[in-house]
């Protein structure tokens, strides 16, 4: 008998389509924001966790595991100490070790970190789902002053194979700290990976040695210049590296290897399991994403509050309408349902529109985001987390819609058949 209330609720809502439409759009946008942030969080975390894979241990001078990961994998900050070349050789020669990548950091190029390494880096470094690095253009470094740059470096600075670049001592910024006497040639550009590799300039360990031949204690030695063409005459074996990435023949031996590194007597070393350390690191940087999520949750709540306010505000001018419906035999419970259905309908339609909007944006923006920020926006099916969020939005919408429903219920009980307007 009261089934006509539902189409009536729709007709009534259509009659107020302008204000309700605006409310619907604000809910849609807030839902898009919330789900977008959730997706971005998911993808950022994935990109973060996949910044290194297949590496069993990351080894550096003794410091905190998080700091070691920060400079060895993310090339952020600086190492407090280096590892002597002797120690590197001993670790590399350990029978349990399948491969090792020495990493030497400390220089930069226009804000991008410079990483000195060996060919092993291109052979063994893996990211994501065990993907190897791929050259998009050119070839690996062969000569001393060859450089292979990451995709983002190439894109931001507009470099092409054959371009000449000058490295800067330290993280840059100080004048006169440029290694401008020994320019490098870009020989290769890596394909984008969505990891810190994209932001890195790769050169050989020998090159790092060579550009610092005439340097002492972080500064160029006055009156002592070694031109680029003479560096070959010197012994370019590195004296130290910043960190080592190693892969084991048998992963089961990882804790034994870790203990061996920790008990190395010549110098204090630290070996961390990247997965564990990345988790720790995420706890630190993850605060930002939680704040972001909290803010977008607030935005959704604001959107729903707007909905409640709009419907409540409309109640007064609809008192007569409600009294008419009541005189026609509607129960107070029907009035309650009428207003609750209206709120729910707007909230659900808004949520649906928000989801559609998000997926539309996703498809449109995914290539842009990937190329600019290296975050792969996966257009996956709706994830469990998203389903939970959507369910939560629906639950809160229901609660919010009960407010105008209850308001109308009270009003219609008080007004009866003759609204006091």
């Amino acid at each position: 008998m009261m089934s006509y209330l539902f189409p009536m609720a729709l007709r009534s809502a259509w009659n107020r389509r302008f204000t309700l439409g605006l409310t619907l759009i604000s809910i849609a946008l807030s839902v898009t924001l919330l789900l977008g942030v959730e997706q971005l969080r998911h993808d950022a975390r994935q990109a973060f966790e996949q910044s290194v894979s297949g590496t069993d241990l990351v080894i550096g001078a003794r410091t905190s595991p998080v700091q070691l990961m920060l400079y060895a994998v993310f090339h952020i900050g600086e190492a407090t100490n280096n590892i002597h070349w002797q120690a590197y050789q001993e670790i590399a020669a350990n029978p349990a070790v399948a491969w090792s990548i020495p990493v030497s950091l400390g220089d930069s190029h226009r804000g991008f970190p410079v990483l000195g390494t060996t060919a092993a880096y291109f052979d063994h470094f893996r990211y994501g789902e065990h993907q190897p690095l791929q050259l998009r253009k050119g070839k690996r470094f062969v000569g001393i002053f060859d450089a292979v740059i990451g995709a983002e470096v190439a894109a931001k600075l507009g470099y092409r194979v054959g371009d000449h670049i000058v490295l800067t001592h330290g993280s840059g910024g100080l004048a006169g700290q440029r290694h401008d006497d020994k320019p490098f040639t870009v020989t290769g550009i890596l394909a984008p990976t969505g990891t810190p590799v994209d932001r890195t300039v790769h050169v050989s360990l020998a090159a790092i040695e060579a550009i610092h031949l005439d340097w002492q204690g972080g500064a160029r030695m006055p009156g002592f210049d070694i031109p680029a063409e003479y560096v070959q005459k010197f012994d370019l074996t590195p004296k130290a590296v910043t960190a080592i990435l190693i892969g084991l023949k048998n992963r089961a031996g990882v804790f034994r290897m870790q203990r061996q590194v920790h008990s190395y007597t010549q110098e204090p070393l630290l070996a961390v399991l990247p997965g564990v350390a990345l988790d720790q690191l995420w706890q630190v940087v993850g605060v930002a994403e939680k704040v972001l999520l909290a803010v977008s949750v607030m935005v959704v709540i604001v959107g729903l509050c707007g909905l409640v306010a709009v419907i409540l505000a409309s109640l007064n001018e609809r008192r007569r309408e409600l009294a008419i419906v009541r005189s026609l035999g509607a129960r107070p419970a029907d009035i309650f349902a009428l207003l609750t259905i209206e709120g729910l309908f707007i909230a659900f339609a808004g949520t649906l529109l928000g989801i559609v909007l998000l997926y539309g944006l996703n498809m449109g923006l995914a290539p842009v985001i990937q190329s600019h920020y290296g975050i792969v926006m996966t257009t996956h099916a709706v994830s469990m987390d998203e389903v939970r969020l959507i369910a939560a939005i629906a639950g809160v919408s229901l609660l919010a819609s009960l407010v105008p429903g209850y308001g109308a219920y009270r009003l219609s009980l008080a007004d009866g058949l003759t609204p006091k307007v």
Partner: protein, 232 residues
């Protein structure tokens, strides 16, 4: 023997928190098919009586019987259903749902009450017939109710109250928003239709001038034994 359309016995009603009764009606008896003018100046407890007859308010004591149904023995939901099935209301003004068409407005009671839908047989046809009798041109049927003049709106409201022969029609100052010369014309139309459908009409107004062509006139102030000055 004819049953009473409206029967009130020892009715007492007081608003919560009020110190005095608002209504105290020892007895009121309106036969089925009777057309009664109830004169009530403002403040005489008119709205309260309408609420009680509509089953929206519940008396503190006494009994209201509508077409043989004792309201005091019914739950709120059943009273709401009885109102839908058996009572057609016409109010002062703004009787129509503004965003529905004239036709949809007239058909509303048939959507809310299966009984009235069945009694109307072909509800659509019945609506057309009633609208015609009440001087609403067919080209207005599809119009949005809010586009109509107030006089037209009141006549549509009368058609809505009449559709599906509810048994009782309660009109609360339905002419007060109309021009003086239109008031009697409206009253005449309404009266004629009620007569034709053998529907009981309780016409409530403060305007004595309208009390023509009724079977009976009742003074609410005389009927109501509650002391004046109470909360109304």
């Amino acid at each position: 023997m004819m049953t009473a359309a409206i029967q009130i016995e020892h009715l007492q009603f007081r608003y919560p928190g009020a110190v005095r009764d608002c209504l105290h009606i020892p007895q009121l008896y309106i036969k089925a098919g009777e057309r009664v003018f109830l004169h009530g100046p403002s403040g005489s407890g008119k709205s309260t009586l309408l609420g009680l007859l509509g089953g929206v308010l519940v008396p503190d004591s006494g009994e209201i019987t509508l077409l043989g149904h004792k309201l005091s023995q019914m739950r709120a939901t059943a009273r709401d259903r009885l109102r839908a099935d058996c009572v057609g209301f016409i109010f002062q003004q703004f009787n129509l749902i503004p965003y529905l068409s004239v036709m949809d407005n007239v058909l509303l009671p048939c959507r809310f009450s299966r009984q009235r839908n069945m009694r109307a047989q072909d509800a659509g046809q019945d609506a057309v017939r009633l609208l015609e009798h009440l001087d609403i041109a067919p080209d207005l049927h599809a119009q949005q109710a809010s586009r109509l003049s107030i006089g037209q709106q009141q006549r549509v409201a009368a058609a809505r109250a009449l559709i599906g022969r509810p048994g009782i029609i309660i009109a609360d100052e339905p002419t007060s928003a109309l021009d003086a010369d239109r008031q009697l014309a409206f009253l005449e139309l309404l009266s004629k239709e009620c007569k034709a459908a053998e529907t009981t009409l309780l016409f409530v107004s403060h305007n004595h001038r309208l009390a023509v062509d009724f079977d009976r006139m009742i003074e609410l102030p005389g009927l109501n034994r509650a002391e004046r000055g109470g909360v109304v």
